[in-house]
């Protein structure tokens, strides 16, 4: 471990990125291209993790970690699976209206755990599908097919339906009970969802839908930083994996003279300040040991225990400054902030690796560790195995930091730029809107 922290920044990042990418090689079902949610036994597929895998293959090809033909085959397997999947919306189907159930069986690809048809996870999958289509632009018949499949899958998604009768997009739908009865409230990782939904040539949502969502934003001054509030770090990261949000602004950010990229940097400052203040006096927290986000945690759920002194949360979206905070930090969430604050992230990452080398297993960052829980024997609690979402965001964000490769790839995607403009984004790398275009 000490060796890892002695590496140069570039070598350290290369090693962590490649190790993270390795997850997708191990967790894939090569027959259908689907990828497991976690490395744990019998883990189902998470459709969002498939989206990250599809976005990671081009990175691997560029870095020489994977043959282009291999990447095409893996991508095609997944795309063909989704094309042919049962879209009836029955309780044992794979999807409905172009969306997919959150968790699927590794082999049959049908719904498991009575999971919901997930709008955000479908968006993350589709973002990966479109990334693959942007990268595999060759004339070989397989690459042509790949692009056609990608288009088919995106155009099939009925985003409009997902609005139900409400202002914002619903969070999910179940065949047993219909739409989950709440939409998106407050800033979240959903920019990519709204952008894809607005950019759709076939089933776009109404333009006021995005405004209805941003009307739930909270612009706050906290610890002397002005920012668009969201507690967990991943919210400040996921959309940025695909979309270069530097210098482009929607009407909210124009009014606040900020942008979502700067905002994610402020989120880093706020995490650092929070862990430095460490209100609940957890072990390990300081300005170079942070990372409250969605992730695995030690669970101590004992419903009949009265007045527990501390409650641990298992897998949860931890956040600052309002919690929940049970002393668990997510190392991948730190690394995924790399593009926004490279110097701060690298300093924290090196410090955390040095102090808690247990957070690295098989060379990969685990989904969470808690030094307070293990304080008695000096060994932090460490999440078992690895989570696909963690590995995916690490691969993409390191790449965006190193080469801006995914951002550049996706900035050429018409659906994305149309969607951004539909949401009112202007400036930066976005092509100026011609005067005839009305939104």
């Amino acid at each position: 471990m000490t060796q890892l922290t002695k590496l140069t920044d570039e070598a350290l990042l290369d090693q962590l990125q490649r190790a993270a990418f390795g997850y997708f090689l191990e967790a894939v079902n090569p027959l259908n291209g689907l990828v497991a949610d976690t490395s744990r036994e019998n883990a189902p597929v998470s459709i969002a993790v498939v989206g990250f895998a599809l976005s990671s293959y081009p990175v691997a090809v560029e870095r020489g970690w994977m043959e282009r033909s291999d990447a095409v085959q893996r991508t095609l397997a997944a795309l063909r699976f989704f094309r042919d999947s049962d879209q009836s919306g029955s309780p044992t189907a794979t999807g409905f209206m172009g969306f997919y159930y959150h968790f699927l069986d590794m082999h049959s690809g049908t719904r498991v755990w009575q999971s919901e048809l997930s709008m955000i996870d479908t968006a993350l999958l589709i973002a990966g599908v479109l990334a693959a289509a942007m990268y595999f632009s060759g004339d070989a018949p397989e690459e042509v097919e790949l692009r056609e499949l990608a288009d088919f899958l995106y155009l099939r998604v009925d985003w409009q339906w997902a609005q139900g009768d409400g202002g914002t997009i619903k969070q999910g739908w179940k065949p047993e009970s219909g739409f989950l009865h709440y939409g998106w409230e407050g800033y979240s990782e959903a920019i990519v969802l709204y952008v894809l939904a607005l950019g759709s040539p076939t089933h776009p949502i109404r333009g006021d839908c995005y405004a209805a969502w941003t009307a739930t934003y909270q612009w706050e001054n906290l610890y002397d930083h002005d920012y668009l509030y969201a507690g967990p770090l991943f919210v400040h990261q996921f959309s940025h994996a695909w979309i270069d949000l530097r210098g482009i602004r929607d009407s909210f950010m124009r009014e606040k003279s900020s942008d979502y990229f700067d905002n994610s940097r402020n989120a880093v400052y706020i995490q650092r300040r929070y862990t430095q203040l460490n209100p609940q006096e957890f072990v390990g927290y300081d300005e170079n040991c942070w990372g409250l986000s969605a992730g695995d945690g030690p669970n101590d759920e004992q419903p009949d225990v009265f007045n527990e002194k501390r409650r641990l949360f298992g897998y949860a979206a931890r956040g600052v400054p309002y919690g929940p905070d049970d002393g668990t930090l997510s190392p991948p969430a730190v690394l995924a902030s790399l593009p926004f604050a490279p110097e701060l992230v690298l300093e924290a990452m090196r410090n955390m690796l040095l102090r808690y080398p247990q957070m690295l297993t098989e060379g990969r960052l685990t989904g969470g560790f808690n030094a307070t829980v293990g304080a008695s024997d000096d060994q932090p609690w460490v999440s078992a195995g690895h989570y696909g979402l963690d590995q995916g965001i690490v691969v993409l964000m390191i790449e965006n930091h190193r080469s801006q490769f995914i951002w550049q790839l996706m900035s050429g995607c018409r659906y994305i730029s149309d969607g951004l403009q539909g949401a009112g984004f202007e400036g930066g790398w976005l092509p100026p809107r011609s005067s005839g275009e009305a939104n």
Partner: protein, 513 residues
Amino acid sequence: MQPFDATLTTPQDAYEDKRLADIHPQAWVNPKAADSYPLIIVGAGSAGVAAAELAIRLGVRVAMIERHLIGGTCLNTGCVPSKALIRTSRLYAEMRDAARYGAKAPDNIEVDFAAVMDRVRRIRSHLSGGSSVRRLAALGVDMFFGNVRFTGPDTLTVNDQTLRFDKAMVATGTRPHVPTIPGLREAGFMTNANVFNLTELPKRLLVIGGGPVGCELAQAFRHLGSNVTIVQDKPLFLEREERDAAQLLSDAFARDGLEVRLNTQVVGVRVEKGSKVVDLISADYRSTIEVDAILTGVGRVPNVQGLDLEAAGIKYDADNGIAVDDFLCTSNPRIYAAGDICLEEQYTDTAAASARIVVHNALLRGKKRLSKLVIPWCTYTDPEISHVGMYVREANRKGIPIKTFTVPMHQIHRAVTDSEEVGFVKIHIRDGTDTILGATIVARHAGEMINEITLAMVAGIGLRTLAEVIHAYPTQAEAIREAAKAYVRSRVTTRLRARLQRWLARRSSAPPA
């Protein structure tokens, strides 16, 4: 059928004798009515009593009529008994949690629930003196008990007496809404109207509804030792409050060991072997729990029935109560309404404030507006959640640029020394100014703290001035000044940066010397 378990009656003790002697004496004989009254008040709750006191002070002859108990919901089945109960429940919670404060927890903490409720009733009885019929009569109020029916635009009857009025105010309040759940009435249940009659602690309690009443009582009973399940059909508690506030409350409930069921509905109740068996459904997930008692706290319905409001030409609606304009006048220009019967904001002090507006407008030809009131409120859970003014989503909807200054309580020394660092102060201002639009406070004593911000709003004091107000150190209310200081710091930076940039621009455009 009674809207609750009618077998659960108030224990007849000395406290109860005193309370009834104060606020509805059995032997009371209604006075002989005057020929006509300048003002008749229907309903002697917080609004009625406030209006009567002000009118008497103005030298006006007043008749007030009460169907049940003077003091209304607040004194008898609302704020007063619930806050008394919460105080004891907090003490038990702190005893169990003593180690957190560096104290040794008592070895065997046993809740004497009868003593808890005895205290609740003693305090309620003690405070009923302030609303006693003798006191009101001594002030000069003609106090009637009985059922009111309007018989015309300027007449009504109490029992068999006819009373004429020049102006009238209807303030009959609300009663608990009873959800239509199959089997609930048959199984028996409690509302705020009878829960304070309990003398035995229910071992297992289901609370239906995650609004203020449900949240306060669920946590109080949990602290007193009940195994409490709280069921709320929405994704968060306290639907009206901002989600961070509601989230902190959810976390607090989880810490307390309350069984929380969000996005869940109660679909049926039945009795099996003496237990109440309750079927729940959450999306497609069905489950069943067994409890000993059920408490519902799912909103209120206005007391508009039985008054013959139509005879007086008063427009109303069974769900929203009496319709009033901004001057609190009903569709009959002689008749006004005040308090919960006509207001969206159903709080004791707001009821009283609206009643004073009515007296001004009805008797002094005033033009005071309801919409000018700045109304704070608080939910007395632990932590407490208080709010005044506008919410962010409201400002966004109205296109008002809004910015929030947030100070987590963990930055405030007194909160840390008291191990009460959960919560925050959020002050919303009109972006670009220091004008306060509203605030939300989550803190152990948020109810006390919100008053300072309400004062600032009423007096037109902005954050710049608040930042100059030295607060006693160390107090938790310093969080308010810290938010104001953050505002001042943010302005200084912006101004300095602008000036520096102008200076740099001039320098770079100046011709070389």
